[in-house]
Amino acid sequence: MFESFLLPVLRVSTPLILAALGGMWCERSGIVQIGLEGFILVGSFFGAVATLSTMNPFTGFLAAGLAGMVLSVLYGLVVLRYRSNQIVAGTAINLFAMGIPPFFSKIWYDSTGSTPPIPTAAQFQVAPLWITFAIVVLSFIIYHYSRFGLRLRFSGEHPEALQSAGVSVRLKRWQGILMSGFLAGLAGGTLSTYLSSSFIRNMSAGRGFIALAAVILGKWKPIPTVLACLLFGATEIAQIRLQGVVLWGTDPVPVQWIQILPYFITIVVLAGAVGRSNSPKALGNS
């Protein structure tokens, strides 16, 4: 059971968990984050690149986080400093990010959007699982017990109260955005250095949006968000396992039905009014 199902679920959930926690922190600070997809993409590319050039997956992993964070600086500048609409800017970041890996892969590897394979010696074994676990625990502690977490939450919940308590709302929002960039970048890192052994085109494949769905499903709280990610991870594994399997009738279950499950669940939950009442009150109002 563990080897055949639980472990694979945990493995495919790691990028979702990392990205979702990033998204959670950002949205908790009051900034809508639909750019996760882009951060994941650049993270996975630069993660692979750095691993290849240093032959050390840990360097690659860190590079992935930093790459996501650099892109999030651009997002933060446009949104916080130049007051762009957050949804428009997030969409732009996603488009922009799609152009980055091919651009550099052409220069560095003369390829139109993938990296050479990472040698086995430089691949991760289980480290990202543990790192993710540590980040989950840390997120939980910071969210509930630290001063930083409290203030960041207020920045999304009641910015006027935070400001009038003498704390800069803008700073908290910058921190939220940077955390989302870093964590989603790490999520990308797990894709290219842990779940597979190279970067391939459009590797993020919608995970940023699934992560966002998990944040909503998890009511913007760390543990429920992680659980939602595990649920989505399980559907991903189920989808692979059920390929060609006949469950009822004579035909196998179409994988597409399982693929759309996370999105479908999210809409149903949103329509059940859960999404609205639990979102940070000041989300997107800046």
Partner: protein, 510 residues
């Protein structure tokens, strides 16, 4: 006031101007340390502005403010807090989904070496604060949304004490409380006072001010009318100061005698619920007075848009007829067809499209009017040339400025916006008019023009329900006034009984 007691706060010739409107004009008063000081006046009298200036939310334009005898320039709320000034806003500064404890300690959280909040330590401190001021509170770990409004307010007060505020400003603290909660609040405020805190109570309820304060400053139309020692004044005197005897902008034009006065005319509008019974007679202006939040807003919404607000505000059955016809849950369009017109309470949020020009705003609500609509292959189309001609005519009639149809509503002055709203109201020639706060935030010239056109409609035999927080205005224009208190009609005055003091008392619940 005891002259020997030290002064906590002093206002010296402080003015605050918005555009060319004085929200505060050279106000002077001082607040003694360790006292409960009332600041009273009608809506828009400038009380809140004065306190916002003191709390650093808005910068003053002229004058000086002294805190504990020192001249200070209060830059922002945080600065005010370091000076020991704290404020409980009408809308609480509490995040609903967080615990009371977290809300209170925000910004001053005790933390350990790792940045973790020491909640137990904070709680101990709060318990101690409550003990020393005799406040009852123990629901620290409850989320704010699960507290009653009274408890939330107490949490806000504890927050100020935790922040070591010496002067506590409370903006209309009783507006949202039940009578029991009000009683508790004042018991607590007295305890705070006994511990040496200074309390400023912003209110427009005479009774509570008389009962609970040591001294009181009365404001009216942005100016301080006077400061009294509470024990040496009485309700009549304060009412007179608050409302003022002299009506500044009296309507001078003709007032047609109602032909059917004395006889029992058939009402043109009837509204009957178990709380509110209202009849509008033909050709009269019925004034609706009352302190904000006593049920007038709900009545206006239901009268003007029963389809949206009927169930929301009047859960029990109500009976609503216009010209003898049952209204049920009609839409504003249905009402419009029956000759009912509306000027909503809040011009900017309810009546105008700020980023659209006069033509578009004139169309709002009239965009189905057969005069302005033609039918084409693409459906109902608007004939803007016709609308524009009509707007131009109204610009002349109402003297709207700037006199261009292409001006954005948001760029016009309050008075001109209101003239536009009035012009739109009268365009379909309604016979029943609901007009709310027609002169709020409006300059003198426009007030006259607006009053004139309301009277003109009345003299033409139209019936008007006039909602206003300006008692002067109601007394000046109305034929009859009903006073709301606590969701009900608490008193009724016919024109010959009009008396600002008497009406003011009923507004306060007497």
């Amino acid at each position: 006031m005891n002259p020997s007691s030290p002064i906590a706060i002093e206002f010296k010739d402080v003015s605050k101007v918005f555009g060319n409107f004085y929200a505060n004009r050279k106000i002077n008063f001082s607040i003694a340390k360790g006292s409960i000081h009332g600041l009273i006046g009608e809506n828009g009298a400038g009380k809140s502005t004065a306190m916002k200036v003191l709390f650093g939310i808005q910068p003053k334009d002229e004058g000086e403010i002294l805190v504990n005898g020192n001249l200070v320039k209060i830059k922002n709320p945080i600065h005010a807090m370091t000076l020991g000034i704290g404020m409980v806003h009408q809308h609480f500064m509490l995040a609903d989904s967080e615990t009371v404890l977290d809300n209170i300690i925000l910004g001053r959280e005790p933390k350990n070496f790792f940045g973790m909040i020491q909640r137990e330590k904070a709680k101990k401190e709060l318990v101690q604060i409550c003990e020393s001021y005799g406040l009852q509170f123990s629901r620290w770990d409850t989320k704010v949304q699960d507290l009653s409004v009274g408890e939330q307010q107490r949490a806000e007060i504890i927050k100020l004490l935790y922040q070591k505020s010496e002067v506590l400003i409370l903006d209309e603290p009783t507006a949202v409380l039940t009578p029991q909660e009000v009683k508790e609040l004042f018991v607590n405020l007295r305890k705070l006072k006994a511990e040496g805190k200074t309390i400023v109570l912003i209110s427009h309820k005479l009774k509570e001010v008389l009962e609970f304060t040591d001294s009181v400053t009365v404001m009216r139309r942005g100016e301080v009318v006077g400061t009294k020692v509470t024990s040496e004044t009485n309700e009549d005197e304060l009412a007179e100061m608050m409302v003022g005897r002299k009506v500044t902008f009296t309507y001078q034009g003709p007032r047609k005698i109602l032909s059917n006065q004395g006889a029992q005319p058939k009402p043109v509008l009837k509204f009957n619920s178990n709380k509110v019974k209202l009849e509008l007679r033909p050709g009269e202006i019925l004034g609706v007075a009352g302190v904000q939040g006593n049920g007038q807003t709900e009545l206006l919404k239901v009268l003007s848009n029963p389809s949206t607000y009927g169930e929301k505000y009047f859960k029990e059955k109500y009976d609503y007829t216009v010209n003898g016809k049952e209204i049920g849950d009609a839409t504003p369009f249905d009402l419009r067809k029956m000759g009912v017109g509306l000027v909503p309470e809040d011009r900017l949020s309810e009546a105008l499209l700020k980023q659209q020009d006069m033509t578009e705003n004139f169309l709002l609500g009239q965009h189905h009017d057969e005069r302005y609509v033609s039918h084409g292959i693409l459906g109902k189309m608007i004939n803007r040339t016709k609308v524009r001609t009509e707007v131009e005519k109204n610009i002349r009639d109402f003297d709207i400025r700037p006199p261009y149809t292409t001006v954005w509503a948001g760029k016009m002055s309050g008075g001109n916006q209101q003239k536009l709203v009035m012009a739109r109201l009268l365009d379909p020639k309604p016979s029943i008019l609901f007009i709310a706060h027609p002169t709020r935030g409006v300059d003198v010239g426009a007030i006259e023009k607006i009053h004139e056109s309301i009277m003109q409609e009345r003299n033409l035999g139209k019936s008007v329900i006039l909602f206003s927080s300006e008692l002067d205005e109601l007394i000046d224009l109305s034929d009859r006034i009903v006073v709301f208190f606590d969701g009900k009609i608490h008193g009724e005055f016919s024109r010959k009984e009009f008396d600002p003091w008497a009406i003011g008392k009923v507004m306060g619940g007497a």
